[in-house]
């Protein structure tokens, strides 16, 4: 049975007339949050069950409660007097018999003077077509209508096939041990074996009673027989009581073991939180050290500017310039000295020349002085009056310049002699300029060191952030708080002690049951020994055959169930693998673990069979979905099961885009038809393209839905409608 079409008129945000057709495969309705996906899901559910899902209250409410909220605001705005309705109808098509069923639900209100007068109930009509091409006939019998709805979607399986994304978690409740077993019972054929088991047990019991009555009737000692009968009755009651106790102990043991597992998981999480906190402390300490080092390095950097003469960086030209100038200065000084020496030499030379200018017969200077004193030239023996030309001529001879003393060379060239200072500066500059060459390396080294510390600080900060995120995530995932972590170990010890005690009790009870059974057999043998004559063979055979039937029915049920579990495990892993193929971080495989009370619980184990504790919510939900799909696909392999349509609103919203394509592939494999409302394909165009083109996805119809008014602008909903657009 597939859903062929849904038609909506004034249903919630779907103002006016709207319709969507569906085919086999995965049909997807794409829309962002607040675009009307949940209202579409509501439409399906409302038609079938007269209820809509109120997400604020997380519950389904009847039309009685919701009333005119079912009708679109646009239709309700300025209504004309008369009747105003909202309706939704679904066309189901049984492809094998070609029968069609059109289920329609309608809610009508009266409008008088523009005021809406609400009614309480909706009207439900069922139309049936014997063959798709024949005209539809209305089904008027209420019981028949109910049967049709139950045939279309049996009530006991609807929770596994029609669900809201947020309901996924509750489909298989990991806190309820019978949750998976219940799903297996509902979705698989194992209940048939349970029923046969019950039939066999009842038949065996009846045959045993009949046989016992015959044994009693044929007894040669009625008194002894009565005693033995009494003992037999007592033993039977005792065995029943012991079996009840055993069942109870098994339940308790399962609970204690489950509690231990849960605490073990929490303990591991708590330890992890503690470890992460220790790690955070370590990182904080490290960060403090690095920050101090960085601060010191900063101060030291400034000191090194002067101590290590880094300030000279960039003054290489200054020194060169100074060297040039100093060299020019020295040069100039040498030139000046040379010039002065040349001048002296010239003067001395002149003096010498003057000396040689005297005639050979000129007497020695003392005679010249004598001539001046006597005012008479002794050479020509003429008078030479003082200050006369002759006298001055003679005096000139005595006044000729003498050679300058050598000491005049040492006299400074200028008034201030900076030679030594300038030379010191030059020498100093020279030693400093050789230092400048090393500064670059030093600065580079220091900066590298500072960068390295900075990087360490950044890395420590990043580590800190990441650890804090891990802690928050862990706390959110495990609903654990730091304080409760301390109590977990104590509680675990207590539960572990209980588990051991129950385990011992179970062994003891089992032994007591065996003992009581053995006694019962003795009593029965004794009763048989009292028989005179012969018990009819047919009765003996009947008893044996029906007891063997009971045994076979029990072992067959057990064997079939174990095979089913093995098959489910295989299928669940295949679906789990397929759904998680887009996410490389997913680990482990699904194991359906048998509890002491006979129930099965899904868990994730590693390659060595060790349970993986602290799996995240997404993984757990995927495990649940994989388990449900496995039950459905395993049942599908039986070949006789009618396949029902999976309708789910935002099932992937809880586990992110990485899983979306895997989920679609798996769903399209497992279900003949599915209708999925999803927002993941709304913004992610790549994902949408993959949905439409991936050959592994058996795609049906794909629609986008868009509201006329964005959700954040809906203070006035009077013009709200929803546009439906087919993408394929």
């Amino acid at each position: 049975m597939i859903i062929e079409k849904i038609e909506l008129e004034n249903f919630m945000c779907y103002a006016g007339k709207n319709s969507m057709v569906f085919t086999e495969g995965i049909n997807v309705i794409i829309g962002d949050n607040g675009y009307g996906k949940s209202k579409l899901y509501d439409a399906f559910y409302w038609v079938m069950y007269d209820q809509v899902y109120i997400s604020e209250k997380k519950e389904f409410q009847n039309t009685k409660m919701v009333k005119s909220k079912i009708i679109s605001d646009k239709a309700k705005w300025k209504p004309k007097d008369g009747k105003l309705s909202a309706s939704a109808s679904i066309t189901f098509h049984n492809l094998e018999t070609d029968k069609k069923y059109i289920l329609e639900r309608k809610y009508t209100v009266n409008v008088k003077d523009g005021v809406i007068v609400e009614s309480n109930d909706s009207e439900f009509t069922v139309m049936q077509k014997e063959l798709s091409y024949l005209s539809a006939k209305m089904v008027s019998d209420e019981e028949e209508k109910r049967k049709i709805v139950a045939r279309i979607l049996p009530p006991h399986i609807k929770d596994y096939l029609w669900f809201q994304g947020e309901q996924v978690e509750s489909i298989i409740d990991f806190n309820k041990q019978d949750s998976l077993t219940q799903a297996i019972n509902v979705l698989s054929s194992i209940t048939r074996y349970d029923e046969l088991n019950d039939i066999a047990a009842a038949a065996a019991k009846s045959a045993n009673s009949e046989y016992d009555r015959e044994v009693k009737r044929l007894s040669k000692d009625t008194g002894r027989s009565n005693e033995l009968e009494k003992e037999k009755g007592y033993l039977e009651v005792k065995i029943t009581d012991l079996q009840t106790d055993e069942k109870e102990v098994n339940e308790n043991l399962s609970r204690a073991e489950a509690k231990c597992d849960e605490l073990l998981g929490k303990q591991a999480d708590a330890t992890k939180v503690k470890e992460l906190q220790e790690k955070i402390k370590g990182v904080y300490n490290l960060l403090a050290v690095w920050n101090d080092t960085l601060k010191e390095e900063q101060i030291s950097f400034h000191r090194k500017m002067f101590r290590n003469k880094w300030v000279l960086k960039g003054t290489e030209n200054l020194q060169e310039e100074y060297a040039k100038r100093f060299s020019a200065y020295e040069q100039k000084k040498l030139v000046l000295i040379a010039e002065r020496e040349a001048k002296n030499n010239r003067e001395n030379e002149t003096a010498e020349k003057l000396q040689t200018r005297l005639p050979f017969n000129v007497p020695e200077p003392n005679y010249v002085q004598w001539m001046l004193d006597k005012q008479r030239c002794l050479v020509c023996d003429r008078e030479a009056k003082i200050n006369s030309v002759e006298w001055k001529k003679i005096k000139e001879l005595i006044d000729r310049p003498e050679k300058k003393p050598k000491s005049s060379d040492d006299e400074p060239l200028t008034l201030q002699n900076f030679t030594d200072d300038l030379k010191w500066l030059y020498t100093n500059g020279l030693s400093l300029s050789s230092r400048i060459a090393d500064i670059d390396d030093e600065i580079k080294e220091t900066l590298a060191k500072r960068n390295s510390i900075n990087a360490k600080v950044r890395s420590a900060n990043k580590d800190l952030e990441s650890i804090e995120q891990d802690i928050q995530k862990l706390l959110a995932d495990t609903s654990l708080n730091i304080e409760s972590a301390g109590h977990i170990l104590d509680e675990y010890s207590i539960q572990n002690k209980y588990a051991k005690e129950y385990s011992e009790q179970r062994i003891k009870l089992s032994q007591q049951i065996e003992y009581a059974k053995s006694n019962l057999k003795n009593v029965k043998d004794q009763l048989k020994e009292l028989v005179t004559g012969e018990i009819p063979k047919w009765l003996e055979d009947k008893k044996n055959i029906l007891n063997d039937f009971e045994t076979i029915a029990g072992t067959t049920r057990e064997r079939v169930f174990n095979n089913l579990i093995a098959q489910l495990e295989k299928e669940a892993n295949s679906h789990y693998e397929s759904m998680t193929s887009g996410n490389k971080s997913t680990r482990g495989q699904i194991k359906l673990r048998k509890l002491p009370n006979g129930y099965f619980m899904p868990e994730i184990i590693d390659n060595n069979g060790v349970p993986l504790l602290g799996s995240n919510t997404s993984n757990l939900i995927l495990v649940k979905l994989a388990a449900i799909m496995a039950i459905i696909s395993a049942k599908n392999n039986d070949g006789v099961v009618n396949l029902y349509t999976l309708i789910t609103d935002a099932p992937t919203s809880v586990f992110g885009e990485d899983y979306t394509i895997g989920f679609c592939k798996t769903v399209s494999k497992v279900y003949k038809q599915s209708i999925i409302m999803s927002k993941e394909f709304y913004k992610n165009q790549t994902l949408r393209n993959e949905l439409l083109t991936n050959s592994e996805i058996r795609i049906g119809k794909v629609y986008t839905i868009t509201p006329s008014i964005p959700e954040n602008e809906r203070s006035n909903r009077n013009n709200l409608s929803t546009k439906i657009e087919a993408l394929n």
């Binding site: 054929s189 029923e195 046969l196 038949a203 045994t551 029915a553």
Partner: protein
């Protein structure tokens, strides 16, 4: 699951051969619609047929009794 499938799963039980109800060769050839001439197997057939056809536990027990009282 069909009646035949259920029947086959019952025939896999080793007790049938262990207690000499039937030989393995005959067991392998058995079909739901064919007479087996083994009372236990016929009992199993009745139970399966009646249960799958929607009969109540009481009705099935009565039919088993009737068959074995012969």
């Amino acid at each position: 699951m069909t009646k035949e499938n259920i029947f086959k799963s019952y025939l896999e039980d080793p007790l049938l051969i262990e207690k000499n109800y039937i030989t393995k060769e005959k067991l392998d050839k058995l079909k739901l619609i064919e007479e087996s001439h083994v009372k236990l197997i016929e009992v199993i057939k009745i139970a399966i047929n009646e249960n799958v056809d929607g009969q109540s536990e009481g009705v099935v027990s009565r039919k088993l009794n009737q068959y074995l009282n012969k």
